[in-house]
Amino acid sequence: MRISLRNSLYITLAGGIAVLILVYDWIRVAVNLDAPFLTGVADLLSIVMFLLIYQTFRRLLNKRVHAPLENLRKLVGYGFFSAALISIVGIVLEKQGSNSGGYLPKNAWQLLAVTAFSFGVATFAVVLLKLTSDLIHIKPDKKVSTRFNLFVGFALAAAAFSVFRNSSLMDTLRTIAFVVTIVIAVFHIVSMNWIVYLSRKEKYKSLVHSLFLFILFGYSFASIGPADLAGGTLQFYSGPLAEFAKVTFVFLTVYFSLAFVVTLFHIPTSSVFEKKKRELDSYQNLSKVITNVMDTNEVLNNTVSVVGTVTQANKVWIELNGSDGGDGQQQPISATHKTSQYELSAFDFGKLRDAVSHRKNVVIHGTNEFAAFGIGEFPAKSLLAVPLTAHDEFIGILYASHDMPYAFDEEEISTVSAFADTAAVAIQNSLLFTKSIESERLQHELRIAHEMQLRLLPESLPSSEKFETDFLSFPALEVGGDYIDYSRIADGSYAFVVGDVSGKGTSAAFYMAYMKGVFQSLSASARSPLGFMMEANDAIGSTFQRNFFITLIYVLLNEKTNELSVVRAGHTPGVLITDGRCRLIRPAGTGLGLEPSIEFGKHIEEEKICLKHGDTLVLYTDGVTDQRNPQGEDFGETRFYNLLMELSGGSATEIKGGIIRTLAQFSQGTDAVDDTTVLILKWRQ
């Protein structure tokens, strides 16, 4: 406790006044002086002294306490000491044979005792008032504050008026001020909101404390009446002080008697209040936990356990809609509290689910209602189902069941709904978070697949003095089903192949990889282009699903004979630009995997071409001709063949560049519908 300069000044002043009064009183006793004016002055001085003490203690005790019970304990302590002081004075002075009423000290020692006693009572009154004031101000409220200051003001006024004892007007005023003070004290009954916030256990303690305080203050008040020795002593020392002490003790007695009654009335409601408080705490707790958690399971488990604790429901569980949602199928149970997926799986909540999916709470009680929802056997007497709705989307259901019928009243339902709303948003967020992680992972996987597939394509195609080649191949998605490859045959000739797996994307990419294996293993050993196709058809027909097939065009180039053999299995025709004219190489043949090899063999043919200087052969997939522009037009065969004729003067690489430029110009940014592959073979000799 630090004592400031101002406080030291106040205490010194108060001490000075006390000494002054003591001297005056001594004179009064010694010479039996009766000077009402001087006594009045001394009384006024005592009021000043009292105010100084009040100011000092108000500052010193300014540490506001937030626990009402601690204040009550202190009050009981000080109250006990003040009551003890008052009784001791009574006993001591009586033993000395003082006459009751209008006490007069007989010697200096008694005078000192009277002064010390009066000082003590004044101090106690101040401390007790301050403690009570803190109790009243526990929940700061301006009105309460004003009322308390008014009370102190009127109490002081009553004290001041009592200075002029002989004036009947002053006496009336004093009475009025006294009554007003008591009225204000009564108004303080409503300033008992500190009681409301006590827990049930604390309320019992408060009850005992209030009772004690009532007795102590009641006793103190009764002991300082004008007829009592203690009261007479105070009266002798200072009339206003006696008045103030009286008012204070009346106020304290009334306040704590009422505190006792109010506490008593609040005990029955405390359990409801505590429950609300617990709900609020859990709610805040849940909000805090689930908004920081991104793991869906953790959010779900937190939610069910909090709802289970707050509502004291026997079982709580959450059903989340499946990813496709609303298909009426059995939904997965995502989190449980005091029950298990296994137990719940025995019941079909379909009807209940339908009812809740209209976004309203459903409460069922009693056997009949349970039976009506098709869960007659469910071991509960009441069940509450609340929709989980986030951003206007119905994402699942929160269930709570209880052994007692009518366990879910309006209040309970609104509590559970509030939890459900908060939880739904958190669940939704965590799901989105998981989804974005998952999609990032998938994109990463697709990037890898894309790179893997690039490695399946040749880096470049062979060229020689007699011919040059180039190619382009772009998948429409990350991975595609177009295939381009070459192989060097034992006799020195080259096999080139362009293919297209039906469909596109990942499944097509797998078949494309398979096709590469087939081509690389068969082409080297194949007796002829036809032989290769027959074997490839076998390999593919036995592996692929019926609705998957591959179209393929296979070209065998014999450098020595300038001869080209083409077999085609359902693929787009080869385009031969010769003498500036366009000729389609389109031998008969069905797609690989469409027919069993006996049939396939009947239909497939081989076409032989003798190459001349400057001839250009182009193999392509339909991604080229199916490329669209923003107007929805296809690039089409005609445009493509015309383009090839136009470009045929250039080298293979120049032709490739021309095709890419023209397609880009045509599409104007329209996404390709299909994978696009072109192989260009230019005959130099």
């Binding site: 297209d500 797996v501 039906s502 469909g503 596109k504 994307g505 699903q545 019926r546 609705n547 998957f548 097939f549 179209t551 299995a569 359902g570 693929h571 787009t572 025709p573 389109r586 008969a588 043949g589 069905t590 797609g591 469409l594 027919e595 049939e599 239909h603 339909d622 199916d626 519908v673 299909d674």
Partner: protein
């Protein structure tokens, strides 16, 4: 963006399936469902009218392959009619004329079924 529609109606002992729009990997499942529904009902004599179809991709072609064996095993068939030139070219390239009966006109196909 590109709609696809299938309409089916009975015609004598056969069923006529009219295709409209754009048949690709996205819309192929609709056609698959129509086929499996018909086969589920024991209807194996199917005439597919391509008059309203403006585009077919390889995934769309696959659908016809997926059901042809089952249909033929039950002494039925899938006959294709009224193809626009562009669509016919796709079938033709792939060698479908070896696998399916393709007619210019729907009535020809129906007549084939009723003759049997």
């Amino acid at each position: 963006m590109n709609d696809f529609k299938v309409l089916t109606r009975d015609s004598g002992n056969a069923v006529v399936m009219e295709l409209h729009g754009f048949l690709d990997a996205h819309t192929a499942p609709d056609l698959e469902k129509t086929f499996s529904d018909l086969i589920g009902k024991g209807k194996y004599k199917i005439v597919v009218n391509f008059n309203g179809l403006s585009y077919i991709s390889s995934a769309g072609l696959g659908v016809f392959m997926a059901y042809i064996d089952e249909v033929r095993n039950n002494s039925g068939d899938i006959k294709l009619t009224n193809m626009q030139q562009k669509v016919f070219n796709v079938f033709d390239l792939l060698g479908f004329p070896y696998l399916y009966e393709i007619y210019k006109d729907q009535d020809e196909a129906l007549k084939k079924f009723s003759d049997k």
